[in-house]
């Protein structure tokens, strides 16, 4: 028998403190960015809305171990639902976010029900097929979605009847920041709840979970549905903040990029997804502006460096260094 007799803390128990610190850091960075980059608020809002997609992907991939390259279909569902509702007369931004979340929920249930029927590579193929179907469906339904021209003419009313969505994107930015902070903390709580732990157990060994008397399929489908709500919220947030919905919100590329952002930040921690989105999109934005011809090479190098030297992502690396310092 090889018992480890030390009481070494493998995973710190100070979850609540970490959540509070994390929320504080997100708020501080957000407020800092607002004042440091007042001309980039639209871009920052875009980062925040995409971070909801990446966090939702973390729920199914990082926490639950489901392989998917089609998660943008949930984001796109939210974006188009909010956009279509807006052009049909609904202008309240919170109601549009709710509509987007519900559309994401529906898309999550449908796509989850299909994707979870497969395992490994078949699962990936089904997810890719779904996002391609979604893309083609939206493209063909141009009378409703605007097709390849995108859905324009969204009319968004003031937030709480008071704050207009201005040209500088201030209202959208604060709204997005508040949503991201709340969602990130809620998802972390979800990930360490009995339900979240069961999902982590399924990621590790679905057969064991079955022996425990739990259903992997039903559990993961519930997680997919929750993930759909979050991704749909992100898509709706994008629609509300940019007042246009394009086909690029429902592409295979968007799905693959979300996965890359998740890996850059670190899987299974939620905060890692947020960090990965921020680092990846900011880096991409900066290098594409600095070198419009070879920026993709630099992005590729970043990915290789992260994967080789920080396999648990930037957040995982940071936590490891912090824990080492903490003793």
């Amino acid at each position: 028998m090889t018992a480890i007799t030390s009481t070494r803390t493998a995973l710190p128990a100070r979850h609540g403190l970490r959540d509070a610190v994390g929320a504080g850091v997100i708020l501080a960075v957000g407020i800092g960015c607002h004042y440091l980059f007042p001309n980039s608020l639209s871009f920052l809002t875009m980062i925040l809305s995409v971070s909801l997609l990446v966090m939702s992907l973390d729920l199914v991939t990082g926490v639950s171990g489901v392989a998917t390259l089609g998660h943008a279909v949930l984001y796109g569902a939210g974006a188009y639902a909010a956009g279509i509702a807006s052009v049909n007369g609904i202008s309240d931004p919170l109601l549009l976010l709710l509509i987007g979340s519900l559309a994401g929920l529906l898309a999550g249930i449908v796509s989850g029900a299909l994707i979870l029927k497969g395992h490994g590579l078949p699962q990936l193929v089904i997810s890719i097929a779904l996002v391609q179907l979604g893309y083609e469906g939206v493209n063909k339904a141009s009378a409703v979605t605007g097709g390849s021209d995108g859905l324009a003419g969204l009319s968004i009313g003031p937030l709480f009847g008071l704050y207009q969505f201005d040209l500088w994107g201030r209202t959208a930015f604060w709204l997005a920041l508040a949503i991201v902070v709340v969602v990130a903390v809620l998802l972390r709580i979800l990930a360490r709840s009995p339900f979240g732990m069961l999902c982590k157990g399924i990621r590790q060994d679905p057969v064991r979970v079955r022996a425990m008397g739990a259903s992997s399929y039903v559990t993961l489908l519930k997680m997919y549905a929750i993930s759909g709500v979050v991704a749909g919220l992100g898509g709706a947030l994008q629609a509300v903040s940019t007042q246009v919905v394009g086909l690029d919100s429902i592409t295979f590329t968007a799905s693959a990029e979300a996965l890359v952002m998740l890996i850059v930040g670190g899987t299974g921690t939620i905060f890692g997804a947020l960090l990965g989105t921020f680092v990846f999109m900011w880096f991409e934005h900066a290098v594409s502006a600095a070198n419009p011809f070879h920026w993709l090479i630099l992005v590729g190098i970043l990915l290789i460096v992260v994967v080789l030297f920080a396999p648990r992502g930037i957040y995982g690396l940071g936590m490891r260094l912090f824990e080492r310092k903490d003793g």
């Binding site: 064991r208 022996a211 425990m212 008397g213």
Partner: protein, 238 residues
Amino acid sequence: MPAGTLRVSGLNAGYGRTVIVEEVDLLVPAGQRLSIIGRNGMGKTTLLATLMGLTTHHSGTIEIDGASIEKASATRRAAAGLGYVPQTRDVFKTLTVEENLVSGLKGHPKSNIERAYEMFPRLKERRRNLGWQLSGGEQQMLATARALLGEPSILLLDEPLEGLAPVICQELTAAFGELAASGKMTIILVEQHVKNALAFADEVLVMERGRIVWSGPSRVIAEDTSLIDKYVGVSSLH
């Protein structure tokens, strides 16, 4: 949940088309401690897995407190009151002890975890260690504690003492005895150590080639070593 009654009639089950458990009939009244013994490969583990719904059911009925469950999924069987601790000590290696326990709550109150720690104080000391950092005995305690969180009325234990140090065996056996004495659950134990199995149980079943070949009070078989020699092996009591 009070202790449950298990009734099995004409059960045939196995893996795919292969039938391993044949024509099994048994009745385990509420609160009874039953041990299933037999040589290796005789179908004891398959019988427990079949009760839990993890094998291919061919024919026969399984009832808990009169309700038929042979067609139900493992999830429904767990909800009906079955708790299962497999032979492989299925703990999640990269989750902490506490996270492993949380994963087994399935809607039951978190206070159940404190009760599990009372039963296995060793787990409380290790609550922040990962599954792979535990000894075999501690993993067994964790798997058992996790099954208990679901408040089963019938607990199925598959070779829980296999490969464990004598001191850990004693600790676990005491815990199982405590559970049985509480009268809150029926316990079915599959065990290779005949001495432990007989000491634990009121009733004993002997399995051979997937069939029950002997059943009766444990004291009867404990006193008749020829029965043990016949069904289990000469040195099994030593």
